[in-house]
């Protein structure tokens, strides 16, 4: 049987303002057989999305096809006329964009949008399409398939929306699906649910797919063949099993190296007690914080409740949880950006004012905030030397030659060349910008560094390098870190203490080794088991487990009474867990779990 899609020596170039062509894709060839999933993997800028879009006969504005052919069932797509392309897109090839939230129109019902393109192309009548959509909802294991079509996009969760995108694409029974990073923006627990339903629906429908991603461990679960790309060229092309177990190319090995091992005990760095002092560097006590107008010490929307965290000098505390659990809010309260409604923040044992306007300059200097998105955290109109020079001057009063020398030192600390001082942020790459972002916080010579998802927006290799840099900085400077992330493996490889947040409550905290080994809080166990492992077949094994079946991808509810994890917990006890606030159980050392289960029950 001949291949469904043949990409043959594809070349795509970008035309700039001066009419010069810069090659983006440099002669790429691969095939997609019927019923097969081919993954394109690479960093941003590697041309993976550009190649995937070429199967629709489309290039982004500014790009053009220079050579080669893309044949769908033997027919060249690139040279197709516009009216033929219209028939191709949405009928024979369907595209799934990265962000479902941005793709769905909030004003139309889900059913209308899922069936729209199928009906528009005249493939089915509206009734047939509706029936087909319902079948797909069932196949994708979406809740309440009979009535789902009548609901609006904001009424379902992010993971469900992502699966609805798949339903939209599959509705017209296309020959080929193009999936562009469909799980990148999702939490781990949501991601595996989405992956699982994608995989089963693709198998059930017998569809072929091109799967674009930068995450090798995701690819290992779903792809039959893997194409590893770098700078528009194929570095390695082989079956998933072969690429994952016996990578032959250096770049693939680098990618694999950047995938952190699954979180387990014994990964956290033991920080020396060299910088130890009596009082913790930073401590929060009985914190209650949220947004909206505060009345009687209770904000309109409470995000954090009863949070107690202490960061010892020179240690790093990892804060982990799904999006919306309040981990960024915690950092904002510590920095004073969001004044707490109740409770206090202590620096070196002394209470800080809740709002940063009332804190003294030296207090501000000691706590520095590193923002998540380096793209937006650096003023685009300031050169790097001014961005780094300002805190040096502001906190330490350095001027002229001294200031310049210090900026040079800072650049050296984050391992960037000196000439970057004269550049503007937009002239740097994502990883370099994040380093500048770090350097700006370091310029204050802080005692505590609050890192809010600092590597989430970076490619795996770049992110791994930034983590390595952070580790070296910690050794060199003795700064305490609060490291916030939704990625447990990142936190496990960096932090020596872990705080697990769920729906604004600390459900478990303690030394990394203790948190990542039994006894677990049921939520921690779910998080640990949801981190994809870099081996074929992991997904199926994981989905068999008790946690996965009980609690993956449910809507997180904020509650005043009972345990917030109640409705996702495989071991929830009705009458107890939904009524009473769980007690804090202190285990060995500083390890504590907030749960109704006793220590003996945890061991089961």
């Amino acid at each position: 049987m001949s291949a469904l899609l043949e990409v043959d020596n594809l070349q795509i170039s970008a035309r700039n303002d001066d009419d010069e062509l810069t090659p983006i894709v440099k002669g790429v060839s691969f095939n997609v057989e019927p019923g097969e999933v081919v993954a394109l993997i690479g960093e941003s800028g590697s041309g993976k999305t550009t190649i995937a879009l070429s199967s629709l006969g489309y290039t982004k504005p500014g790009l053009e096809f220079v050579g080669g052919e893309v044949r769908l069932q033997g027919e060249d797509v690139i040279s197709m006329q516009n009216n033929r392309l219209r028939g191709l897109r949405g009928q024979r090839v369907a595209y799934l964009a990265q962000s479902a939230a941005a793709t769905f129109n909030p004003a139309l019902t889900i059913g209308e949008q899922v069936t729209e393109s199928t009906v528009l192309h005249g493939l089915m009548s509206q009734e047939e399409a509706n029936r087909r959509a319902e079948d797909l909802y069932r196949a994708l294991e979406l809740p309440d398939p009979d009535r789902l079509g009548k609901r609006y996009p904001h009424q379902v969760s992010g993971g469900q929306l992502q699966r609805l995108m798949a339903a939209t694409a599959l509705c017209g029974k296309p020959d080929l699906l193009v999936l562009d990073e469909p799980t990148t923006a999702l939490d781990v627990t949501t991601q595996i649910e989405v992956l699982k339903s994608f995989k089963s629906v693709i198998k059930q429908e017998g569809a072929s797919a091109i799967y674009v991603t930068h995450d090798l461990s995701v690819v290992a679960q779903i792809a039959d063949h893997i194409v590893v790309l770098y700078a528009g060229e194929i570095q390695e092309y082989g079956t998933a099993d072969q690429v994952v177990t016996q990578p032959s190319h250096e770049y693939t090995r680098r990618l694999m190296h950047a995938v952190r091992p699954p979180p387990a005990a014994g990964q956290g760095d033991d920080t020396s007690d060299l910088h130890q002092r009596k009082a913790p560097a930073l401590e929060v006590k009985n914190l209650l914080a949220g947004y909206g107008r505060t009345q009687n010490g209770v904000p309109e929307i409470t995000v954090l409740r009863d949070v107690n965290v202490s960061i010892e000098r020179g240690h790093s505390v990892g804060v982990i949880g799904e999006s919306g659990c309040g981990k960024s809010t915690l950092a904002r309260v510590m920095a004073g950006l969001l004044p707490a409604a109740q409770g206090e923040v202590l620096l070196d044992g002394a209470a800080l004012q809740p709002a940063l306007q009332q804190r003294s300059r030296s207090e501000l200097q000691k706590i520095q905030f590193v923002f998540q998105m380096a793209d937006t955290a650096l003023n685009p109109r300031q050169r790097i030397d001014r961005i780094l020079g300002r805190p040096v001057e502001f906190y330490h009063g350095l001027k002229g030659e001294e200031k310049r020398r210090r900026v040079g030192e800072l650049l050296q600390m984050v391992e960037l060349p000196q000439e970057f001082a004269g550049r503007y942020p937009e002239e740097l790459s994502g990883g370099q910008k994040q380093r500048i972002n770090l350097a700006r916080a370091l310029a204050a010579s802080p005692e505590v560094l609050l890192c809010d998802e600092v590597i989430s927006a970076l490619d795996s290799i770049v992110g791994a390098n930034v983590i390595e840099l952070l580790k070296r900085l910690r050794q060199k400077t003795g700064v305490s870190f609060v490291f916030i992330s939704h990625d447990l493996s990142t936190v496990a490889s960096f932090a020596d203490q872990i705080v697990v947040l769920y729906a604004g409550r600390v459900v478990e905290q303690g030394p990394t080794n203790a948190v990542l080994s039994p006894p677990y809080h049921p939520y921690t166990r779910l998080l640990i088991s949801s981190v994809p492992e870099l081996r074929v077949g992991w997904l199926e094994e994981t989905m068999e487990t008790q946690e996965a079946q009980a609690g993956i991808d449910r809507v997180v509810t904020l509650t005043d009474k009972g345990c917030p994890f109640f409705d996702r917990c495989p071991r929830a006890m009705k009458g107890t867990c939904d009524e009473e606030t769980p007690p804090v159980r202190s285990l060995t050392g500083s390890h504590s779990i907030e749960c109704h289960l006793s220590e003996a029950e945890f061991a089961q």
């Binding site: 800028g45 090995r253 940063l356 937006t376 955290a377 805190p391 370099q432 290799i461």
Partner: protein, 313 residues
């Protein structure tokens, strides 16, 4: 340029790919270049216009000048004469030289408009930034006052003010125009300011403990300067048309001073006589406003076309 990486194999290194597109330079298109040439031309005229004008703007030309050689007509018509060697662009409704009046008028029209636009920017940007960084109540107060001003038709508003002040002269004309246009500048400055105010780098400056003045001058203003500059051009065009409209209605620049708007008006009867007189100053206005627009088009293309959405007249 290469990111430092702990490569396992020294001979084989992968650079991190730069993710930012190359910096967009402001590239002038042909219309943009023509626009700049015309603006430059008029700027020169503003300076040297009166000294190169063949006559004074108020001079009513002698009949003798129009006597054709060899003609025995002693009292030829001097009004609405076609272009000739005596009057290069023709004469107006009482026999003044149009070219001279346009050359003199450039200074009045452009001068008043530039001053009024600057004033509008001074008031509008100050209040707009104050509203975007100040408290909720300050923002609400300023915005509601501004809404009230915007809801009054600007020409009517100006007419009432001018009539109440009894045709008070150029100084008040500038003041009133600047004040009226400050309202629309306020809206743009406020929305631009708010957008920058919530960005991470302003938050970073706040966490650092920077004062309000530093945040406004170093973080906000540099980031809104470009869109404001583009808007300045368009606003300037509207002010020219506004001043011209006022003059056309007889409440702007008063005779015998010449200004392009009033010249259109006073020569309007010439149209029925087949004279070009009202068209000449109209062309002058059009050449200036269209040129500014052509330059602004290039500028907003350079800022990614984001500006167009914010343009509220």
């Amino acid at each position: 340029m290469s990111e430092q990486t702990n490569s396992t194999d020294e001979s084989f290194s992968f650079d991190e790919l730069p993710d930012a597109p190359p910096k967009r330079k402001i590239k002038l298109s042909w219309p943009g270049k023509i626009g700049i040439a015309i603006i430059l031309f008029w700027s020169v005229i503003v300076v040297i216009g009166p000294s190169i004008a063949p006559y004074h703007e108020a001079d009513i030309l002698d009949e003798e000048l129009f006597i054709l050689p060899g003609s025995d007509e002693m009292y030829p018509e001097t009004e609405f004469q076609p272009p000739s060697k005596i009057v290069y662009l023709g004469s107006d409704y009482i026999g003044r030289d149009l070219l001279s009046r346009i050359l003199y008028g450039a200074r009045t029209t452009i001068g008043i408009s530039v001053l009024a636009t600057l004033l509008a920017y001074l008031i509008g940007v100050t209040a707009g930034i104050a509203a975007s960084v100040g408290s909720r109540y300050l923002d609400m107060g300023l915005s509601r006052v501004n809404d009230a001003l915007l809801s009054i038709p600007s020409i009517m508003f100006a007419l009432v003010l001018i009539a109440a002040l009894n045709s008070p002269g150029i100084f008040w004309l500038i003041l009133i125009t600047g004040f009226i246009y400050a309202a629309s500048v306020f809206r743009i400055a406020r929305s631009l300011g708010q957008e920058v105010m919530v960005s991470d780098f302003v938050e970073a400056a706040k966490v650092r403990g920077e004062g309000l003045w530093w945040i406004i001058t170093r973080e906000i203003l540099p980031n809104i300067a470009m869109p404001l500059a583009t808007d300045f051009g368009l606003r300037f065009v509207w002010v020219i048309l506004f001043i011209s409209s006022l003059s056309f209605l007889g409440l702007g620049v008063q005779p015998p001073m010449s200004d392009w708007g009033s010249m259109v008006k006073e020569n309007l009867p010439g149209l029925v006589l087949g004279s070009y007189a009202p068209l000449m100053p109209a062309f002058a206005i059009a050449s200036l406003t269209i040129s500014v627009n052509m330059i602004v088009d290039d500028l907003s293309a350079a800022t990614g076309g984001k500006l167009a959405k914010r343009m509220i007249s």
